[in-house]
């Protein structure tokens, strides 16, 4: 992996555009010194020579001071008025909530459903700071962009949700991401809390992906495939650690993190189809394999890392969006997401599955109505019981930087009492936060 990355980095040093430009400039210089010039040619053909009538801005001149400074060098010299020269784009995002998990203590616990790390804490109902995120994003140099996302979930310690660099200039449509980051596996797993239209993550997250989702230290290589439509293939490798709670089966995190045999490997194929100007379809196929942590059934868990059975994790995600190109006319749009995954343990181990389907309708410029149906335990098995969830959310966005959300979820399943959870969520963002992908 490392040698491949180095080779790619070496390869990117040769910029074909620059090569052609230099060759053309050389040819133009020779032509300019020749006794006779070709009709129609001009010595101004040399690279960087100003065109008559164009006055390049002085180096370092502000963008608003000298109109007409058109050269590339002038653009590099221009800087934003009052901009912080070398600071990354910094932002803080806060999700606060007020609510409860069931009218009676133990209602939610009886369901046997763990909460995701950035769900409102089960042990701190009432007022809660569901998550505080600090993000720093910046270009590192001409070859990399970097991002760091620190979070404090439920006021319980500082976590590194993601910290990675991404290449920007590899050849062959390749891109490498390295650091600790969310796997490209699935759709919800790639998203931070504030991107979502629901207060709690889908039930499958904590059961199959892990409490904090499928994320960790690793590396990713992706390629934009040379096809007429958008198709990107991702290959990732992670060193995952066992979860804090060793009582159940965790899909990954078993074994020694250093050993290639114990690393977690994933691959995803993401394809986009523009069905019409207003209709978009994004389809993902996902596969992962690694060592599970299977304390109750496979091996005894001790303080030392143990190698659980090989786990296979696979499924698909579908995202459909209808949004008129001129959404400002009506402010009505619709999006629908469905994901379903299964996990199979090696050597005839059980297969369990879970998924969800959710729809969000923009009913006005600032109002979004959402509904989600969760299904876990299809098939059911150890630690993934059959449970149902129906959730509704109403989101009000005073501006692009704040949201208020009312969220209600009914949870139940065979032979357990149904319970209702409900939250009023407030979210705001300060600072410059990068735009999110489709």
């Amino acid at each position: 992996m490392l040698s491949f990355a180095i080779v790619c980095l070496l390869a990117q040093q040769i910029d074909q555009g620059a090569l052609e430009k230099a060759m053309a400039a050389d040819a133009a210089a020779k032509a300019a010194t020749a006794p006779a010039t070709t009709p129609g040619s001009t010595p101004a053909a040399a690279a960087g020579t100003p065109i008559p009538g164009v006055t390049p801005a002085a180096e370092g001149a502000p963008a608003d001071a000298t109109p007409g400074g058109g050269s590339w060098a002038a653009q590099q010299g221009a800087r934003a008025p009052g901009g912080s020269l070398l600071n990354p784009a910094l932002s803080f995002i806060l999700d606060g909530s007020f609510g409860y998990y069931g009218a009676h203590t133990g209602d939610f616990a009886a369901l046997g459903l763990p909460a995701a790390g950035d769900d409102p804490s089960v042990s701190r109902q009432g007022f809660a700071l569901q998550e505080i995120e600090l993000a720093a994003q910046s270009a590192i140099d001409p070859y990399f962009e970097g991002a760091i996302f620190l979070t404090i979930p439920n006021l319980e310690g500082l976590e590194v949700e993601e910290a990675y660099l991404v290449t920007t200039s590899l050849p062959l449509n390749l891109q490498i991401k390295a650091g600790t980051f969310r796997s490209q596996f699935g759709r919800n797993n790639t998203q931070h809390l504030h991107v979502q239209f629901f207060t709690r993550r889908p039930l499958m997250t904590a059961l199959l992906f892990g409490e904090d989702g499928l994320r960790g230290p690793g590396a990713q290589v992706s390629v934009l495939l040379p096809l007429p439509w958008f198709a990107t293939l991702y290959v990732e490798s992670f060193s995952l650690t066992p979860p804090d709670d060793l009582a159940g089966v965790a899909t990954f995190g078993g074994g020694v993190r250093l050993t290639p045999n114990n690393l977690t490997y994933t691959t995803e194929l993401e394809q986009f189809f523009e069905l019409a100007e207003s209709h978009s379809l994004l389809v993902g196929l996902n596969f992962a394999t690694g060592r599970s942590v299977d304390c109750p059934t496979a091996v005894a868990c001790g303080p030392a890392p143990v190698e659980g059975p090989r786990s296979y994790f696979y499924g698909a995600d579908v995202y459909y969006k209808w949004k008129p190109a001129n959404v400002a006319q009506s402010y009505v749009s619709f999006q629908w997401t469905t994901e379903f995954y299964e996990r199979t343990l090696a050597d005839g181990g059980p297969t369990v599955g879970a998924g969800y389907s959710e729809a969000v309708v923009q009913i006005d410029r600032r109002f979004f109505l959402g509904g989600r149906f969760d299904l876990t335990g299809l098939p059911s098995g150890l630690d993934v019981p059959r449970r149902y969830g129906g959730a509704g959310s109403l989101t009000f966005t005073p501006s692009e930087f704040s949201r208020l959300r009312l969220y209600v979820q009914e949870l139940g399943g065979p032979s357990v009492a149904a319970t209702t959870v409900g939250f009023l969520q407030v979210e705001y963002a300060m600072g410059a936060h990068g735009a999110h992908p489709f």
């Binding site: 080779v7 790619c8 390869a11 040769i14 910029d15 074909q16 555009g17 620059a18 052609e20 430009k21 053309a24 101004a44 053909a45 040399a46 690279a47 960087g48 020579t49 100003p50 065109i51 009538g53 164009v54 801005a57 963008a63 608003d64 109109p67 007409g68 400074g69 058109g70 050269s71 590339w72 653009q75 934003a80 009052g82 901009g83 001409p142 991404v166 920007t168 050849p171 062959l172 934009l224 439509w229 958008f230 990107t232 986009f272 978009s280 949004k323 190109a325 001129n326 959404v327 400002a328 009506s330 410029r365 501006s399 692009e400 930087f401 300060m430 990068g434 735009a435 992908p437 489709f438």
Partner: protein, 306 residues
């Protein structure tokens, strides 16, 4: 070692094959809005292929960052954008996902059109207070492409940058720029004459996106239907605005054709003004295919409305 050299050589060769543009091929240019795409055509003529990422009937703040646009950017030799954070909500992830080194920031193919104009409305307040003014653009007002002096500045930037990217075409880009400026000089006189009745006219606009045009046509902006940029109108603000319009003798309420006109019509009727739904980009209406047709349509709309 020998195997490593071969692998490196293969990757270099493949990089040249996949990433290169042959000497005879056209410059592939991607512009974020249709007006910039047309200005590229005016300057680049037959030497370039131009694609616009958005349509003139869309709000350029909120273009959908569809992955299909990643493919378009992936193949581009140059990316021309409005800048001043107009496209900040959708362009950066597309550029990062494109894996195209030629158009990344800092590369010659990354062309910020705003470097060709004098930026107005740069907020002069502390950064931590900016958002209290709404979804304001901290680098200045990005709705600058309609006035002729700004189109001229943009065209000069394009000619310069295309020449740097395609040295062999410098003479052609010079010729394209000269032809554009020649026509622009003539049209500017025509527009100035046609817009004479607009001088001194008091106007209200939906969004603060007509300031450059108002300055060019010597119109005076009295207020905005949005209480603050990007913030939907409120009843209180609307009532105050109507009162202000009556006192200030506002003649026109200008709204981009992509915004809903119902509230603007209410404001115009109650403020004793006329509503003008004006195009703000090439492609806003089927008959507006060039920059010149866009400005023709804007002037005609304003003059017929006053």
């Amino acid at each position: 070692m020998r195997l490593g050299s071969k692998v490196t050589g293969l990757i270099l060769a493949a990089a040249l094959l996949f990433g290169a543009r042959s000497a005879s091929a056209k410059l592939r240019v991607v512009a974020t809005i249709e007006t910039l795409a047309d200005l590229c055509r005016q300057v680049g003529g037959d030497r370039i292929d131009v694609t616009s990422l958005s349509h003139g009937y869309q709000d350029p703040h909120f273009v959908e960052a569809k992955p299909s646009l990643v493919l378009t950017i992936n193949r581009a030799d140059a990316l021309v954008y409005v800048g001043l954070d107009l496209e900040i909500g959708w362009l950066p992830p597309l550029v990062q996902q494109s894996r195209n080194v030629r158009i990344q920031r800092g590369q010659p193919g990354n062309i910020d059109a705003s470097t060709g104009i004098k930026v107005e409305d740069v907020p002069n307040i502390p950064a931590d207070q900016l958002r209290a003014l709404g979804d304001i653009h901290p680098l200045g007002n990005p709705h600058y492409w309609i006035p002729p002096k700004n189109a001229r500045g943009i065209a000069r930037v394009l000619a310069q940058r295309f020449s740097e990217l395609d040295v062999a075409g410098t003479a052609a880009y010079q010729a394209g720029l000269a032809a554009f400026e020649h026509r622009l000089d003539a049209k500017e006189k025509e527009w100035d004459k046609a817009a004479t009745p607009l001088h001194g006219l008091h106007v209200v606009t939906y969004h603060k996106s007509w300031s450059y045009v108002a300055e060019w046509l010597q119109m005076q902006e009295v207020g905005y239907i949005e209480p603050k940029p990007g913030i939907p109108p409120t009843a209180n603000h609307t009532a105050q605005l109507i009162e202000l319009m009556r006192k200030s003798n506002v003649k026109l309420v200008i709204v981009e054709s992509f915004y809903p006109s119902s509230l603007a019509r209410f404001v115009a009727e109650n403020g004793h003004a006329r509503l003008v739904s004006a195009p703000s980009d090439v492609g806003a209406a089927p008959g507006i295919k060039t920059y010149f047709e866009l400005v023709d349509a804007v002037i005609a709309a304003f003059v017929s409305g006053q």
